[in-house]
Each structure stands twice: as structure tokens, then as C-alpha cells.
Amino acid sequence: MTETIAVEARNAIKAFGQGDVAVRALDDVSVQIRKGEFFTLLGPSGCGKTTLLRLIAGFETPTSGSILLDGKDITSDPPNRRPVNTVFQSYALFPHLTVAQNVSFGLQMQGRPKAEVTATTDRMLALVRLEAMAGRKTSQLSGGQQQRVALARALAPQPKVLLLDEPLSALDLKLRKEMQTELKRLQTETGITFIFVTHDQEEALTMSDRIGVMSAGKILQIGGPRDIYTRPANRFVASFIGETNFLPGTLRDGRVILASGGSIEVAATLRNAGNVTVAVRPEQVRIVPATEPDALPATITDLVYFGTDTHCHMALADGSEVVARLQSSVSGEAGLERGGRVGLRFAPGAAQVLGE
């Protein structure tokens, strides 16, 4: 099984500063990233995702713990001896070199034969569709083109792992969407393991095979996009990815008795754990007539129109807020109006019980 692991961090700790002011940017992180997968580290800024990336690249030395590549300990190898390349957030393109010179830089440093350098450079430029720009200075390129040069440059030496540090953050929305597709295509075509760092949940969900959600120096959950979205392990993951309604309650015999009155059926495997929180995605909330049996009674406090859908804000009996996302209809949401009394139901299996 180990031969399928490309990169592994074992109990990696990285502290900045010393003594009392020391901050743990990474707090005992262990993770295995499989060969050929598109793995995303997702988290808010300062969560340690970039630090983990820099440890893998070799720009930082862990305070303790180790980094393994193909099962070999590379913790103390300098970056220029690691078969790992990085696409930098700022691209870090060499301003004094042309596009082609940038792309061939790594190959030249490795001392590859001239013919191979030229051939690989051409192939890489073709891969990112920049053949026509080969002789340009990088400052003459647009943001999206610079991004592609950075990709080609990092891919040219055929690294075992490609690290991408928020590479799309400087692009505008439309270009970002294009590059997401492009990145996914490159990853499939080259078969190289990608480790992608981002704070954008949508980016993570659309591109990744697996996602590691990070907060405060720890990895909170690792899983596929659907897993992470539908089965968040805790409140942080649930609130960081997508929008979620949190309802406090008590777990008893496969049901959660809500603080607002009423109860929801949840997976029977859960043991009685006293006070819990139930997370329900807004799109899983159904609005039914107040008269329907077993529906949670609620009062509409606001209706917000978003174009494709409409958010219906409601207050439960104890005042806690629930949002439902409804597909907008052309003629408006029939029967819903501010102050109206309605009933709530959750789609089967949609309610997720969170450990705090």
C-alpha cells in the first residue's frame, strides 16, 4: 500500500518565534497524499496550509516531525535536491529571462542535455498553449499567460509532485474558472500528483480528488469533495465549506430533540451523546404548510432574492435562525411572505450530527 503514497508528513510541527511568543503554524500534522491524485489543502489564511506546502518544497525545515517522498525521508534535503516543483502565488517568473528561458531554467540547472532541454521546453509551451510567446519577456504577458508560464516552468522538470500555492488568486473570476479546467486537464494529462493550496472552497470542491481542511495548524478532515460537503466532521468544516444551519439539541435513541421543540431523525448508529449540534445545508431544508404533522413550526423573517435562488430566512420557536435555499420561480415564491407561518422538514439523511 505504501508504494501508492507520494508524499507523507509525519507529526510535522512548525513553530515560528521562540519561547512565549512562539506560534505553531503547524501543530502535529500527519497526512498521506496518494500518487497521481489532485489533493487540495483548504483553509482560511493563517491556517498553516502554505507552511505545510513550504515544508514539502523544502523552503522551511520542520521544528519536529518529518517529510517523506516516495517513502524516503527528505526532511533535511534542500529544495534544489527535491524532485518537487512549486507554482508560486506571485508566479515568481524571472523578469530578466524570456518565457522559454523561464521554462527551461529547471532543466538547465539539472544539467540535462541541450537537445532534451529544447524539446521539453517546446513540449511544455505547447502544453500550456504559449508556443507563440516563447521569445517574449514575462512582463509583456497578461496575468493568465504568466500563470501558464509558471505552470509550464514547474512541470518541465517532470517533478514527482507539483505544489500550487494559491495560484489562481490573482486572476479575475472568468479567468479563474478557465484555469480551473485547465489545471484539471494538465493534471490528468501529466498524471503528476498535484498538491493545491487554496482558501476558496468552490475551487477545492470542483478540482480535487481529495481535500484536507485545515484550521489553526491542524488538519481537521480529509476526504473527497462530496464527503467533506455532506458529512463535515465538525462545526468548523461545516461552516467553512458552504452555508449551514446549526441547530442545538439533545441526542436520544436515534433522534435529536431540538432546543426549539420538535425532533429530527438521524442515523441510528449514533450513540446517545447528550448535547449535540445538528447541521443542515440550506438546500436540504423543505418548506411545507404549517399544518403538516411533524413539521418544525417557523416564522419567515426575510426573503432574499439571489437570481437563481431565493433565500428564505426563518425563526424557530426559540428564536434560532434557519435559512432555506429555494430555486427561484419566475412569478415569485407563492405563499411565502415575511411574517408568514410555515413548517420545516429536512431531506432524508440531510441532518448531520456534529461532535463539537
Binding site: N80, N85, S90, F94, H96, F105, M109, A154, P157
Partner: protein, 267 residues
């Protein structure tokens, strides 16, 4: 005026004073340059346009020697100063702060803070003893003294260039298998080179211009162009001195223009 509207940035009389300032700055220099082409024997009358004083200066063996000496000192001193300053700039920027860094800054900038006459006197005292003790009275003292006070002038543009440089470029080079020497050779050096050339040129100009320290450090018969010109002053300013000044002035303007073009290319 009404058509121009209200200009918030204009203040009364400022433009007039600025005009006077620029005229006052350039009128004397233009006068000096003008007199250097004066064909008359004395400086009190105008005898038509002529290159005779340039020819006289060119034929003057003392001027020739002083010129060569000035150039030798300026070239050696700026080479030494720029090398030392480049290394120091690499050592003091972009590696995080470390204890003693302030000390290094103060040391490097010290020649900018201490009045020239004080440094001149200090070097006179020390080198006088060294000259007696070793018997060596060559140009080495002048080159050493010039190299020292040129260091901050070479250091500042190089440091500015280094600090303006994206740190991730070197990280990227290391990521792309360049060892530290290759990183320096293929990434850092080409990017800092304009700063180094600018620093070297400033150091050259500063060394070429120096009067005070040279005057105190030189041994007998070691006049540079500026000290030669200062010495000539006892006989009043001669048109020959004007001619030499004009040439030096031209050289300064040339170097400065190149310097500006180099530093502007940055963006």
C-alpha cells in the same frame, strides 16, 4: 486666469523663486564653461571662442599625470568599494534581522555622517605614522582611503535594488534545482547588476571629485586633478582650470545620465 480655474497646488511666488533657483544654479556653471572657451590671455576680458586652454591643459605634463592618477585611484577605489559593498548588501538584506546588523549599517554609513575634514585629519595622523614605519609612500593610501568613503555610495543603490527584488525569485530558482551558486549566478546577479553598475558609477564620481581627504592623505607629488586645481588657486582661477573643470563636469553629466537610465529601467 479664470479659464484655468482654481489650482489647489499653486502657492504664490513659488514658481518665481523656483525659476530664480534654477537660474542661480546653472548661471555660474555656464559662466565657467563659457570662460573655458575664452581666447584671451587673462580671465578679465573676452578674446573670442578658442580651444587654447584645453590645448594648454592637455599639453601640461602635470595635468596629464594628475589626470591619470585621478583615474587610476577612482577606478581601483570604485572597484574595491563596489565589490565590498555588493557583498555587504547581500549579507545585510533579505536574510531576516540579526544581532549586529545595526552595527554593520552604522559602520557602512559612517563616512556619510562624519565631516570630511575630520576623516581627513584622522587619516593624516594614521597614515603619517604608517608611512614612516613602512617607508611605503605609494598610491595605496589614497586608494584605500577612497575605497572606504566610496563604500556607502556603492552600497545604497545595490541594497535598494536587492530590497526591491522579489524574494520568491530565488526560492523559485532553488525549487528548480539551482544550487546556491547557480541561484546567485543566474538569478540574483543579473537582477542586481543595474544596481551594482549604478553603485560603481557613483563611487567612481565620488572618488574623482574628492578634494579634502586626498589633500590630507597624498604624499608629495601625488596631486590628483582636484588637488592640482585647488593648488592652482593661489595664482587665481586660470582659464586652464576652467577647461579642466568643464571636462570633469562633462564626465559627471555623462555618468549621471547613464546612472539615471539604468535605475529608471527598473519598472
Amino acid at each position: 486666469m479664470a479659464s484655468k480655474g482654481f489650482d489647489a497646488t499653486s502657492l504664490p511666488g513659488f514658481t518665481a523663486i523656483a525659476a530664480i533657483a534654477f537660474i542661480a544654479l546653472y548661471a555660474p556653471i555656464i559662466t565657467l564653461v563659457g570662460y573655458s572657451f575664452n581666447g584671451a590671455n587673462s580671465i578679465s576680458s573676452w578674446g573670442g571662442f578658442s580651444f587654447r586652454w584645453y590645448e594648454a591643459a592637455w599639453a601640461n605634463a602635470t595635468v596629464q599625470e594628475a589626470t591619470i592618477r585621478s583615474l587610476v585611484i577612482a577606478a581601483s577605489a570604485s572597484l574595491i568599494a563596489t565589490t565590498a559593498a555588493t557583498m555587504a548588501a547581500l549579507g545585510t538584506t533579505r536574510r531576516g534581522s540579526f544581532g549586529g546588523q545595526t552595527f554593520i549599517y552604522v559602520m557602512i554609513n559612517q563616512p556619510l555622517m562624519v565631516p570630511e575634514i575630520v576623516t581627513a585629519v584622522a587619516l593624516l595622523i594614521v597614515f603619517a605614522s604608517v608611512k614612516v614605519a613602512t617607508g611605503y609612500t605609494g598610491l595605496g593610501y589614497l586608494i584605500l582611503a577612497h575605497a572606504a568613503f566610496c563604500i556607502p555610495f556603492a552600497y545604497l543603490p545595490i541594497r535598494a535594488r536587492l530590497e526591491g527584488m522579489d524574494l520568491s525569485l530565488e526560492t523559485a530558482a532553488a525549487d528548480l534545482y539551482a544550487n546556491p551558486w547557480q541561484t546567485f549566478r543566474h538569478v540574483t546577479l543579473p537582477l542586481v547588476l543595474p544596481g551594482i553598475i549604478a553603485g560603481a558609477m557613483l563611487a567612481f564620481v565620488i572618488s574623482l571629485d574628492d578634494v579634502v581627504i586626498t589633500e590630507f592623505v597624498k604624499s608629495a607629488g601625488q596631486d590628483t586633478l582636484p588637488t592640482y586645481m585647488l593648488g592652482q588657486l593661489r595664482r587665481g582661477v586660470t582659464p586652464e582650470v576652467n577647461a579642466i573643470s568643464t571636462v570633469l563636469l562633462g564626465l559627471t553629466v555623462l555618468l549621471l545620465t547613464v546612472f539615471f537610465l539604468l535605475t529608471r529601467k527598473r519598472d
